[in-house]
Symmetry: C2
Subunit: 351 residues, 2 copies
C-alpha cells in the first residue's frame, strides 16, 4: 500500500458523485451512493467501495440497473416492511429500508425490513451500523451477487457468500461490528490475491474433485469453501432464504452473476433488522454491559505470539481513524483505472 | 447403537414426566419439560434430551433451579417482549416466549422475545421449529451454559458454544432446519467421544499453546475451536450479546458452568424471533420457492464419493421417522444410569 495515493473522504465522495451524475444518476441519489461507497473505503471495506465504481457504471450503461427507480413499500406491518427497489441500486434501497426499520423499531421495539428487486449495496456493515446512531442494534443479511458456493458435497454453484453483519452499541468502547461472508474467503479477496500475483492459502477454494485450489487465476475452475464446512453451507442457505426467498428476490439458480452479466437485472434481496435496547431495559446499563464484555475479552490471557486480542469492529475503527487523518489509500492500478474513467466521462481526475 | 434399548416417544416422555413430578416439579410443567426433552431425542438431538435428566435433577435437588417459577413478561412492545423466567427451567420459559412471539408476529409481522433468569432449554431447534406449525419462520439464539471458547488468540474462556437455529417452512419438502453451535464441535460431542473411548479429530480442540488436543479425556486442559476461526469467535460473541447481554442475562465472565456448579442460578438468556411470511406476500408461493431451492440443491452435481446432498433438517427428519416407527435408541450406559435414577426415586424403570 506504500505506493498508494491517499485521498480524503470528501475528495473520494465528490469524485464518485460527479461520475454518477455524469452517468445519469439524479443528483441526490448520486450523492447518497457516493457517500456510502466512500464510507465503505473509509472503514477499510475496500472490496466494496470505489473499486466497484467502474463495474457499477458498466452495468448502468448496459441498462441492467434502473437509474430513476420508484423505490416503494409494498408490504407493511407494525414491525416489518417489504421494499420494492424497482431495480435501483442497493445502496438507495437499503438506506431507505434501514431508516424505516429504525423508525418502526422506535415504536415496535424491533423491526425487520426486506428488499426485493434491489441490487448490490456494498458492505453489509454499512447498514448494520446505521442503527448505532440511534442507540439501536442492527442485523443485516444479504444474498450475494454471484454464486461461488455449492451445497456441501455438491458441485453446482447454487449459493453465494451470503453475508451477515451485526452492530451492537457500547458505551466508552467502540461498537461491536461483525461483518462476515459465510465462505472462508470472499470472492473479492480471491480477486485481490490474483491482482497481487499471490497464491491463496489452502482452505479458501477447492477444485471440482475436492483438491485444494491455490492459484487465484484459476478461480473459475473451482469454488469457495464455506466456514466450518457443512455449517457454513447451512448458514449461507438460511441467510439466502431469509434475505432472498422470503422477499421474492433471487436465490439459488436465479442469482445473476453481476461480474459476468452486464444486462440482466439481479433482483437482489437484503434484510435489515433494527432492535431498540430501550424496549428491553435501560440503554445506558446495556451499553455498560457491552463495555464489560469487550474489556474482558481484550484483557484475556493470550496465546503465545499473540500481541493483542481484537474485538470485531476494532480494526475497522482503527482504519477509519487512520484514513480520516491520513487519507484513504487508492492502489496504483485502481487509480489508473479511475483516471481513465474520468477521462472517458470528461470529469476531473480523483486527487 | 446396535446394543441400545429402543423406547417409544410416549414411554420416554412419561418416564421423564414421572421423574420430574417425583422431584417436585408441578404436574403440568413436568409434562411440558418431558414432552420437549423426549422430542429432542426423537429428532436425534440426543445430547439435549433424556441424557440431561440426571444433571437437571441434580441441580433441582441442590436448589439451583426454581421448581415453581413465576414466569412473566417484564418488558413489552408490539414486536417484542422480555420474559423473566424467575430461574425456572429454560424449556418452560422458552416455550412461553415462543408462543408469545408467534402471537405477536401474527399482527406485527415479526416479533422478537428474549429471556432473562432462564436456564438450559435443550436443543436450539426445538424453539426455532415451533413457529413452523403456524406457517412461520423461527430464528433462535442462546447463550451456552459453560464457557469453552476464548476470544480469537486468547486463552481465557469467556465465550460459550452459543448456538443459532433457524427453521423455514417448505411446501412438499421437509422444512429447512439449521441448528449449529458456533464451535466446530459442541462440548457434548467431546463428552460423547470420551465415553466411547475415541480420539477427537484435529480441529475440534486445541491445547493452551495452540497445539491440537486430540484426547477428549483431557478436554478440561484445552478449549474448543470456533467455526471458521475468527469468524466463529465473532458469531459466538454477537449471539451472546443478542441473547444474553441485551436481556440482562449472563454473558462472558458471568456465565455459570452448569456441569461443574450445581448451586448457582445460571441467569441464562435466549431469544426467539418469529417471522410471518404472510406479511411479506403469499405464503403458498413462498413455500413453493423454498421447495425449488431445496430440490435444486439436492439435484446438484456431486463431488466424487458423495452419495447424496443433504439439506439442513433432512437428517433429523429421517431420524424422527425411524425413531417414531422403531423407537428411540437409549445406549446401555445411559439406560443403566436411568435405571439407577428410577430406583433412587422409587418409580418404574424406563421400558
Amino acid at each position: 500500500m506504500s505506493d498508494s495515493t491517499r485521498v480524503s473522504y470528501a475528495s473520494l465522495r465528490d469524485f464518485i458523485c460527479v461520475a454518477f451524475e455524469k452517468t445519469g444518476l439524479p443528483q441526490g441519489d448520486a450523492l447518497t451512493m457516493a457517500s456510502l461507497m466512500a464510507e465503505a473505503d473509509l472503514q477499510g471495506s475496500d472490496g466494496h467501495g470505489v473499486i466497484r465504481l467502474i463495474p457499477y457504471i458498466r452495468r448502468f450503461k448496459a441498462g441492467a440497473v434502473n437509474l430513476t427507480p420508484n423505490i416503494k413499500v409494498v408490504q407493511e406491518r407494525a414491525a416489518m416492511a417489504l421494499i420494492d427497489g424497482d431495480n435501483g441500486m442497493g445502496h438507495l434501497v437499503m438506506k431507505r429500508a434501514t431508516e424505516l426499520a429504525i423508525e418502526k423499531a422506535r415504536t415496535a421495539g424491533v423491526a425487520w425490513v426486506g428488499s426485493v428487486h434491489s441490487n448490490h449495496a456494498g458492505p453489509a456493515s454499512l447498514y448494520a451500523r446505521m442503527p448505532l446512531a440511534h442507540d439501536m442494534l442492527g442485523l443485516y443479511f444479504a444474498v450475494g451477487n454471484a454464486n461461488h458456493l455449492p451445497a456441501w458435497g455438491g458441485l453446482s454453484m447454487l449459493l453465494s457468500t451470503n453475508p451477515i453483519a451485526c452492530a451492537i452499541p457500547a458505551n466508552q468502547e467502540v461498537p461491536v461490528v461483525l461483518d462476515m461472508a459465510t465462505t472462508v474467503a470472499s470472492f473479492g479477496k480471491v480477486k485481490a490475491k490474483a491482482q497481487r500475483g499471490e497464491m491463496m492459502p489452502e482452505g479458501w477454494m477447492v477444485e471440482r474433485d475436492g483438491r485444494p485450489l491455490l492459484d487465484p487465476k484459476r478461480a473459475d475452475e473451482g469454488f469457495l469453501l464455506p466456514v466450518g464446512g457443512y455449517k457454513g453451507y447451512g448458514l449461507s442457505l438460511i441467510i439466502g432464504l431469509l434475505a432472498g426467498t422470503l422477499n421474492g428476490a433471487a436465490m439459488g439458480r436465479d442469482v445473476v452473476d453481476f461480474n459476468h452479466d452486464d444486462t440482466t437485472p439481479t433482483n437482489t434481496g437484503q434484510a435489515i433488522v433494527a432492535i431498540d435496547p430501550a424496549a428491553f431495559g435501560d440503554v445506558a446499563d446495556f451499553k455498560a454491559r457491552v463495555d464489560t464484555v469487550v474489556r474482558d475479552l481484550r484483557a484475556s490471557e493470550r496465546m503465545p505470539g499473540v500481541e493483542r486480542i481484537w474485538v470485531p469492529g476494532e480494526q475497522s475503527h482503527q482504519k477509519r481513524i487512520d484514513y480520516t487523518t491520513n487519507g484513504i489509500p487508492v492502489p496504483p492500478a485502481l487509480k489508473a483505472n479511475l483516471d481513465k474513467l474520468a477521462a472517458d466521462l470528461g470529469i476531473p481526475a480523483l486527487a
